[in-house]
Symmetry: C2
Subunit: 225 residues, 2 copies
């Protein structure tokens, strides 16, 4: 809950942690992958200590599972955890977008609209990675405008599993155009202070952007518990 205003100094531990976390989240290290203090320390050119401490942090986030004297593995995706993360995110995002419809700074609203422009460009280029980033940024901006950035950070922390399955879903079948249309409607609803509509669109949006897992479980059974 604190990794945002860390000293910019890139301690070895911080560097290793950030790198591993990123690799896990983008499935470059797929669920089930065996890690090892020794291998990672060799790969990063540091000693085992900072690697170990990175593993401790990742384990607390649920990104890896440490089995004493056996090994450390990238966590499999836990369906129950994914479903609850979706639930939490839905409740919090619905509440926040209602707040946004009461009061929202103009410059953040413009940021949303600028984001939408970028989404259109990225869609034209079929740049999935960028679209994923813009999606995240769009939601983040809503929280920012409501002064609820810590809430967004908490969501990020509990959404590590959720994000992996979202990514799986999106690389499987793209449906950016629909998601974009919903983003657009949200921005309009905020501008028009139409809380009910905003909440409804958000609910639909999240249930759409979040895969139903049964399909993914069939396609990538080895990634799930």
């Amino acid at each position: 809950m604190d990794q945002y205003r860390m000293p910019p100094s890139t301690s070895a531990r911080e560097a290793v942690y950030a790198k591993l976390r990123h690799q896990i989240l983008i499935l470059e290290l797929p669920p089930g992958t065996a890690l090892s203090e020794k291998d990672a320390s060799l790969a990063f050119g540091v000693s085992r200590t900072p690697v170990r401490e990175s593993f401790v942090r990742l384990a607390q986030e649920g990104l890896v599972q440490v089995l004493p004297q056996r090994g450390t593995f990238v966590s499999l995706i836990d369906s129950e955890l994914v479903e609850e993360a979706r639930f939490m995110r839905e409740q919090l995002e619905k509440a926040v977008i209602r707040l946004a419809c009461e009061s929202f700074p103009e410059d953040r609203l413009e940021a949303l609209e600028e984001n939408l422009r970028e989404q259109r460009e990225s869609m034209a280029r079929t740049d999935d990675k960028r679209m994923f980033e813009l999606d995240e940024a769009f939601h983040r901006t809503i929280f920012e405008g409501c002064r609820k950035l810590n809430t967004w950070a908490a969501i990020q922390q509990m959404n590590v599993h959720l994000n992996r399955s979202r990514l799986l879903r999106l690389v499987t079948d793209h449906q950016w155009s629909h998601l974009y249309a919903q983003h657009e409607q949200m921005a309009i609803a905020i501008r028009n202070r139409d809380a009910d509509r905003a909440e409804r669109v958000m609910r639909e949006h999240l249930s759409l952007s979040i895969a139903d897992l049964t399909m993914l479980k069939e396609k990538y059974p080895q990634y799930f518990q």
Copy 2:
């Protein structure tokens, strides 16, 4: 996000972490207290390594702040973080208690009522510590009945600051009788499947049990940022 089904083995790291966490949460180690890897390692009779790894975990939860080459300190209470934690908790608890009014297993409802009995006893004994535990258990049971235990765990994780201020408030002026009455109404609402009433009571309950911070800031200024 994973400390629920850890191996029961109490590794040195786990023991140190659990002890420090508890001491911080009950304000036995008040905000601002200077910790030290060396001192802690002596106190626990282990080497610096497991202590250090505990600090890493606590730092990630925001319970301590590690300043390289300067020291490690129990985090001060951040008002903004407390307010957002309250917001998150309110949204999630309202949503969950609505779920509970749709469907709730009979044995969990009985657990709630048994909990209420214990609350009456503890109140008679003015056993604040026990009341605090029962309060937590009551809410936890609601999540359990809705099969949302991971959500409860996430709340626990982000509520570390919130809990400290709640504890401050409760040791300052006890108001258990009012809180108890609300718990009782919640159980009744769940039994009667009265979602609107349940949500309303929950909202009032949380805004009551969660201190307004201005008073606490005046009384314990050294604990706040």
